[in-house]
Symmetry: C2
Subunit: 333 residues, 2 copies
C-alpha cells in the first residue's frame, strides 16, 4: 500500500493543475468539451478579460443569472430534444446555485432551409419544458444564418432566479460527504447512440429533467455546494471543486450508481461513465452528519492531495481521476 | 391631391397588416431580417407558444431582461466588431425600455479552427464595450461546433437592468411627435461595404454605441415609447409601433437625418436608408409639447389610417412606408 500511495502522490505532483493558461493557436472541439481545454479557455482567457467567474450562476442583488448555449446533435434524441435541454440545462444551473428559477430568455440561431416543422417542434419543446420547470419565457431573439452555417438551430437560454433564503454555501471541507442525486451517464450515452456512429443499440434515454424539486427538498445549512454534472461529467465537477477549494476528493467507484444499460455501453465503447454528461444529476457536497434520502453517497472530501480527485476502484486500488483531455463526446448539449 | 390620397388609401386597404401568421415551410434569410417574415415568425409562432411579447425587454419585478443573438458578417467592420455590437445591442434594448443596464451574460458559439487571435480580439471588444457601457459581465458559456458549422463565432448576450423610476410609458397617441436621436443608415451600410460585394468605396463607419446616456438625458413624463432602430431600420420600428398602437405615423422625409456618404451609397445601391439597420440610433415618440435638444423631429402620430406609416416625400407627395419584405441586408447584427 505504501508504494502504491507514494506512486499516486508522484503522479499527482506531475499532474497537479496549475492556474490554466490559454496558449492555443486555434479553437478545437476539446475547447467545448468541459475538460482541460475548456478550463484553459475559460480560466485563461474569458475570466481574466471579464473579471469574473464564468462557471456558476452569478448574483446581481438577490437575482441569480446564468446563460447556456445549446448545440446538441442530433436535435432530437431518446428522452428529449434541444428545446427541452435548453430549458432544463439553464434552470438547473440556477437550481444548483440555490436559486428558484423564475424566468428565461430564448435566443435562436436558425439555419436557412430549416424545416418549419422542426422549428415548431422545438418551440413547443421549449414551451412545455418551461411550463414543467415552472418558469416563464419572457424574452427572445431570432437570427438566421445561411445554409451550411449552423446545424438546423442553436439555442441560447438565459435564466434568472431568486436566491433561496435557506442557502448558506461554503467551501467543501475535509470530512464532508460527496453525494450524487441519481445514476450517471445516461444523457451522453443516449446522444452518442442516437448519432448511430457505433454499431450498438441499447435502451438508453437522456435523463434531462428540471432539478429544482430535488434541490428544494434538500436545501439547508448542511449543503456546502451543488453542481449539475453536465459536460465533462461527475469527474469534471469534482476536479473543479477540488481545485477551487484546495481539497482532495475520494470517490468510491462501487458506490457510484450507473444503470446497467449505460454501464454496458460505456464498457463496450471504452468510456468511463464518470466523464459522461448528465442533464438531470447533480453533485452535492454536504456536512458529514447530513442525511439525504435517495442520494448516493459516493465519497468524501479529504485534505491531501489538495486539488486532486482520487478514485478507490472496486478492486481496492486508487487512481487519479484527472480532468478530461480531448473531446470524446462532442456536442452533447 | 384628392386622387393621390384615395390611391394611397386603396393601397393601404390592400396592404394593411393582419395579425401575422407563420405558414412558411422552411426558414429563409428574410426570417432574420426584421421585416414581415420576422413578424410572421415571432408573432405567428414564438409569441403564441411562449405566451409573451418577444420584442421588448421584459420585466420581472423591477428587473428588465433582454437577449440578442449576434451573427454579423464580417466579424470586424469599420467602426466596430461583433464583440462590441453584442454589448451595445443588448444594453441598448434595455436603455430604450427605460432600464439602466446593470449586467450582461455572454454565450459564445465558436467554430472549430477559429484563430485564437480573432477570439482574443472579440473577448477584448466585449470587455471594453461593457466597461464603456457601465455594465458588468457576470456569466457566460462557451460551446464549440465543427469546422463549417458556424462563421468563426456567434455571440448571444443577455442583459439585465433596473427600470428607471422616471419611466411612464404609454401608447403613442395622435398629435405626438416622432423623434430620431441621430442620423440613420450608417451601421447597415458600413457592413454592406465591408463585405466588398459592391464596387463601392465610401467612408462610412458603424454608429454602434451605448444609448443609455442619451436615454438618461431625455427620460421624463412626456416620453411615450422608445425603440432602437436596428434590423429593418426606422421603417420597421415605426410600422411596429403604428400597428400595436393602432395609430398612423406621418414621416417628413426631408427631416430625416442621413449623413451624405450614407445617403450617396444608399442611392447608388437603390436602398432606402429608412430600412437600413442602425446600432446607435433610437426613435422616441414624445408628447407634442416636449422639447428634446439634439434630436431630429421627423414627423407625428396621426389617427388615420391606423396601423400604417406614411412618408411625405421631399416633392410633397405621400407614399406608404410598409414593412420590409425579403432581406436586402442579411446578417448585419
Amino acid at each position: 500500500m505504501a508504494t502504491r500511495e507514494s506512486r499516486v502522490l508522484e503522479i499527482i505532483e506531475t499532474a497537479r493543475a496549475k492556474r490554466a493558461k490559454f496558449r492555443d493557436d486555434r479553437i478545437n472541439m476539446a475547447h467545448g468539451a468541459g475538460g482541460k481545454a475548456t478550463s484553459r479557455l475559460v480560466e485563461g482567457l474569458l475570466q481574466p478579460a471579464f473579471g469574473m467567474d464564468l462557471d456558476d450562476a452569478a448574483l446581481v442583488g438577490d437575482i441569480a443569472i446564468t446563460t447556456d448555449a445549446f448545440v446538441v446533435k442530433p436535435l432530437r434524441f431518446p428522452g428529449g430534444s434541444i428545446g427541452e435541454l435548453a430549458v432544463n440545462g439553464t434552470v438547473n444551473d440556477l437550481a444548483v446555485s440555490g436559486a428558484r428559477p423564475l424566468a428565461l430568455t430564448v435566443s435562436l440561431i436558425l439555419e436557412e432551409g430549416l424545416e418549419a416543422d422542426v422549428l415548431k417542434a422545438e418551440v413547443e419543446a421549449l414551451a412545455t419544458a418551461a411550463e414543467r420547470a415552472g418558469v416563464r419565457i419572457v424574452g427572445g431573439d431570432t437570427k438566421v444564418v445561411e445554409r451550411g452555417h449552423a446545424d438546423g438551430l442553436y439555442i441560447t437560454t438565459t435564466g434568472i432566479g431568486r436566491r433561496d433564503p435557506r442557502v448558506s454555501f461554503s467551501p467543501p471541507r475535509p470530512g464532508d460527504r460527496v453525494l450524487l442525486s441519481g445514476p450517471i451517464g445516461a444523457h451522453g450515452m443516449a446522444i452518442m447512440l442516437a448519432r448511430g456512429e457505433f454499431e450498438l443499440d441499447a435502451d438508453i434515454v437522456s435523463d434531462t429533467r428540471p432539478l429544482w424539486p430535488a434541490v428544494d427538498a434538500m436545501l439547508g445549512p448542511g449543503v456546502r455546494v451543488m453542481r449539475d454534472a453536465t459536460r465533462g461529467g461527475v469527474a469534471s465537477v469534482l476536479n473543479e471543486l477540488a481545485r477551487s477549494a484546495k481539497v482532495a476528493m475520494l470517490v468510491r467507484e462501487k458506490n457510484v450508481p450507473v444503470a446497467p444499460a449505460v454501464a454496458g455501453a460505456c464498457e463496450l465503447l471504452g468510456i468511463d461513465p464518470m466523464y459522461v454528461a448528465n442533464e438531470g444529476v447533480f453533485v452535492a457536497i454536504v456536512a458529514p452528519d447530513m442525511d439525504v434520502p435517495g442520494f448516493a453517497d459516493i465519497g468524501e472530501v479529504k485534505t491531501e492531495p489538495p486539488g486532486m480527485v482520487l478514485v478507490e476502484t472496486s478492486f481496492g486500488g486508487k487512481r487519479v481521476m484527472d480532468e478530461l483531455v480531448g473531446d470524446p463526446l462532442p456536442r452533447i448539449c
